[in-house]
């Protein structure tokens, strides 16, 4: 093989720009390698130094997040985070965005989003056990929205249903600020033996590097670079990958089988920036060099160049470093599952990545600078002017608060998501205990008599927009609260930070402040961030999305027989309000959807109050005192209660307290829960709460078929059910579900 680089590429300023690199970054490349790069090398730098792979704008701030805790085995830095579940098992999980591709091609964009995050999990040795998805679309009336909703939801179902992993939760919201940039954030979790976690860190010199899985095509070239640029409204169809869940499922089984045979030293999936990123990461992490011969890469298209093979984002591919002499064993397992397996290179000791193709040396770069020495920016940021707090007395109370509730139940953001989640297989694997539509999705730990896992994904973008710091705190607190409401102990979280263009100081300010808020809340609630993903440049024609730092968390339930769900209210149960009455209407759903206004500050999160009240609720659930539990969030007390009654098929009589009723019913004060408690256990619970200094109030009694709110209104629950279930199918013009 020739050891000098071929120099026949003409790198013009235009070519550099098309690769999303700045001229000063190109100068840095030349200084680092001491010559002009080849086109393939430029593609590699572009892929490794883009925002998506290098986190160059966010790294400085991500480092401030708390990543350690008593249960944390692996924090950020690997494909996913790992927490200890005890009993020799661990949970591996991550959330990742696939926003840009899903806007261009909603079905395949969303499907490969799920496929990609699933690979991140099983590349570490875990069998995936649950997925969730947090989706944000433009306003319902926007001409593209219905098409995007249909494509994204069928794409998610298309991949996860066939792959065989239950969807246990998620979010769907509509807001005109996502008209040109939808968000598709996919979460996946898997269980692995604690002594069988695999890493991407290469070890050992001269070991075979195996390429396993689907063949390489021309799809997705430049995908990671695309994900790091703002949209100009032009389609770039070549950059969307096509997923194949069947191959994904076979890849999972083949990988787990090979891992169990002790043949794998290190493994990395080929995701963003494909072969380039996985090869560089494995070598750089292990302080080793990598040598690849592209002639042995299985391809499915003819005449592919080194550039294309290195940067393709074809799906369902893995790169592995095998123990010496294990090539045949690997090949046999992968061929059994109908997949390719080919030795394409070896590890070396000289810290360089060398790529040969058709007898030419196409790439010869120092490996460390591609990862570790990627540019890092301390981008200027400013805090946008703070909103003025709203006086509740200045917020109009509508005459008929019952009609206001009915309107919210049938509104795009608050109505039932059944139309979406019934298209997902929520039951597969036989461990699902709580399906989507509750606070947290819950699954049993496979093979465990008692223990279960709770999952929730949360963020309130309108809060984040009004105050990124408080909004960041609130996203963490709500996730922690949802997990708590099922009776689980929150363990750790993953963050998916979706923002606009960080080169604008006010957007950078949103990112910085949201991360500060997330960090503060995670520290106070002992809820470390163990993995994550940053998606910037979510802008179209200069219009940015609202700051959307999605937080997905996991919790552990010690005995699922005692867990609480949203829909388990029994006739005669006492309804208890924990955390105080509603007062705060700034940035509330009432203000936005009933009065058509956006004003004020979001409800502040008192983290000490949050923790204290949450811990109390969890202890009562664990004591077996609580039949049903729901946290109070969007739409306040009355929407939370309405959801509980709808899911329980039961009415209630409650005392909202004194006027102003609109604040009592719709206030979105944080750190609050409604509990349904067996009447024989109520006095005990109230006494316990008072002793613990927890704000507690007897709200009313469950029973009958009506929701009766003293001094305000009476509504029949069956009518509420119809309103709640109607919006989504009628919006989608789905006659079969109406």
């Amino acid at each position: 093989m020739p050891m000098t680089i071929c120099k026949n590429d003409n790198i013009t300023e235009e070519v550099i720009c098309a690769h999303g690199l700045r001229i000063d970054e190109y100068q840095k490349i030349i200084a680092l390698i001491g010559r002009m790069p080849t086109l393939t090398e430029l593609g590699i730098f572009s892929a490794m130094w883009n925002e998506h792979c290098s986190y160059k704008s966010s790294r400085k701030w991500l480092r401030t997040l708390p990543t350690e805790g008593s249960c944390v085995i692996q924090g950020p830095g690997e494909n996913a985070g790992v927490v200890d579940l005890g009993d020799g098992k661990c949970l591996i999980f991550k959330m990742e965005s696939h926003n840009h591709p899903s806007y261009i091609d909603p079905y395949h964009g969303a499907a490969t989003g799920i496929g990609g995050v699933l690979r991140d999990i099983f590349t570490m040795g875990a069998r995936p056990v649950a997925v969730m998805n947090a989706l944000r679309f433009g306003r319902p009336e926007h001409p593209r929205t219905r098409h995007l909703v249909t494509g994204v939801i069928t794409g998610i179902g298309g991949y996860s249903n066939a792959f065989g992993v239950p969807t246990v939760g998620g979010e769907i919201n509509f807001d005109q600020q996502y008209n040109g940039n939808i968000l598709v954030n996919a979460f996946a979790a898997g269980i692995a033996p604690t002594d069988g976690i695999f890493s991407s860190k290469a070890e050992g010199i001269g070991l075979p590097i195996a390429y396993c899985g689907a063949r390489t095509g021309r799809d997705g070239i430049g995908g990671a670079t695309m994900a790091s640029a703002a949209f100009d409204g032009q389609k770039r169809p070549l950059a969307v990958q096509i997923g194949d869940p069947f191959m994904g499922k076979c890849l999972l089984e083949a990988c787990l089988e090979l891992m169990a045979s002790n043949a794998v030293v290190a493994i990395q999936d080929m995701g963003a920036a494909g072969l380039t990123c996985s090869a560089v990461e494995m070598g750089a992490k292990g302080n080793l060099g990598i040598e690849l011969n592209l002639d042995t890469v299985p391809v499915r298209e003819e005449n592919m160049t080194a550039y294309e093979i290195m940067l393709s984002e074809s799906q369902e591919r893995m790169l592995m470093i095998l123990r010496m002499g294990k090539e045949k064993e690997a090949e046999a397992i992968f061929n059994k599952w109908g997949l390719d397996c080919s030795t394409i290179g070896k590890t070396t000791d000289d810290l360089r990545i060398r790529v040969f193709h058709q007898g030419q040396l196409k790439v010869d770069l120092p490996i460390k600078v591609l990862g570790d020495a990627a540019p890092e920016y301390d981008r200027p940021w400013i805090e946008s002017s703070k909103k003025t707090p709203m006086n509740t007395a200045s917020v109009k109370s509508v005459d008929d608060l019952g009609s206001a509730l009915m309107k919210l139940l049938a509104s795009p953001d608050q109505s039932s998501r059944r139309w979406a989640y019934e298209q997902y297989d929520t039951l597969i694997q036989g461990n699902t205990l709580v399906c989507p539509g509750s606070d947290a999705g819950v699954i049993r730990i496979d093979g465990d008599e008692k223990r279960a896992l709770a999952f929730s994904s949360d963020v309130t973008p309108r809060y984040c927009q009004a105050d990124p710091y408080e909004g960041g705190k609130q996203a963490v607190a709500e996730c922690w609260r949802n997990i708590t409401a099922s009776g689980a102990t929150p363990l750790a979280a993953t963050d998916n930070l979706n923002f606009g263009n960080p080169e604008k100081p006010e957007i950078m300010g949103q990112l910085v402040l949201a991360i500060k808020g997330i960090g503060t809340a995670c520290r106070a609630l002992d809820f470390p961030i163990v993995s994550g993903n940053v998606s910037l440049y979510n802008e179209t024609n200069g219009e940015a999305i609202p700051p959307t730092p999605t937080i997905a968390g996991v919790g552990l339930i010690t005995d699922w027989a005692k867990m609480a769900t949203i829909g388990n209210i029994k006739e005669g149960d006492c309804l208890i309000l924990i955390g105080g009455d509603g007062t705060h209407l700034g940035q509330s759903i009432y203000l936005r959807d009933i009065l058509g206004k956006s004003a004020g500050t979001p409800p502040p999160v008192d983290l000490a109050h949050e923790k204290h009240h949450g811990d109390f609720v969890r202890s009562q659930i664990k004591n077996g005192c609580v039949h049903a539990c729901h946290d109070i969030s969007d739409g306040g007390l009355i929407l939370a209660l309405a959801e509980m009654l709808i899911k329980s098929g039961c009415g209630a009589e409650i005392d909202p307290g004194s006027d102003p009723y609109h604040a009592k019913l719709f206030g979105e004060d944080q750190g609050r829960y409604i509990l349904a408690v067996d009447s024989s256990k109520v006095s005990f619970l109230i006494q316990q709460a008072r002793t613990a200094g927890v704000m507690v109030r007897h709200l009313g009694i469950a029973g009958g078929k009506n929701l009766f709110v003293n001094d305000c209104f009476t509504l029949p629950v069956p009518q509420m059910v119809i309103a709640y279930e109607r919006w989504f199918p009628s919006y989608m013009k789905d006659k079969s579900a109406c």
């Binding site: 298309g158 249903n161 869940p245 076979c250 997902y424 039951l427 036989g430 049993r444």
Partner: protein, 227 residues
Amino acid sequence: MQSAIIQFPGLNRDHEMSLALQHITGRIPYRIWPTETVIPNVDVIVIPGGFSYGDYLRCGAIAARQPVMRVVHEKAQNGVMVLGICNGFQILLEAGLLEGVLLSNASLKFVCREVKLEVLNTDTAFSCNYRKRQIIRCPVAHHNGNYFAEAETLKRLEKNGQVIFRYAQGYNPNGSVHDIAGIVNAKRNVLGMMPHPENFMEEAHGGTDGRALFTSVLRYARKELFI
């Protein structure tokens, strides 16, 4: 009682099917790879749900043409019980072990929800532990569960008591003709059904109405019942 699961790549409900069989029979089912041409002596052969070969071409079409299916055919002819659930039902139809076809759901969407079924015939190895006309709860999860057959075939199936499970009134999730959820062959030793009894076996599943299907098979295998 001994059982075997046919392990077509892409099937994904094999895990809970295996647990259900283990739970009822106390024995771990054999796993049979599709290229195999021998199946050990078993009382029941099961093809679970999923997406065999990605459901490419047509649901079940590729699986139905794998070498192992010739053996399944022979065993069925010799009276061995064969159970196909969801994709397994689609495979049995493609293989010609059962009559009719499964089209795309009328909604053209995947559907995962709990439905109610009526047990029409308890005079089979798969249903003898249910009561006739019993209404049971059971989940479905599929995209192509819309059963169809020509009028003449339907008439014969109904007349011979080959329709074992029907979606209860108001619960048809896919548009199946005659609300058909599960049928047997004329010899009544091959059952195909879309709903998932293996996902409704214990309290954790939200109900246990699926158990009686497996205990029926066990009872038949133990010769406690002659049909």
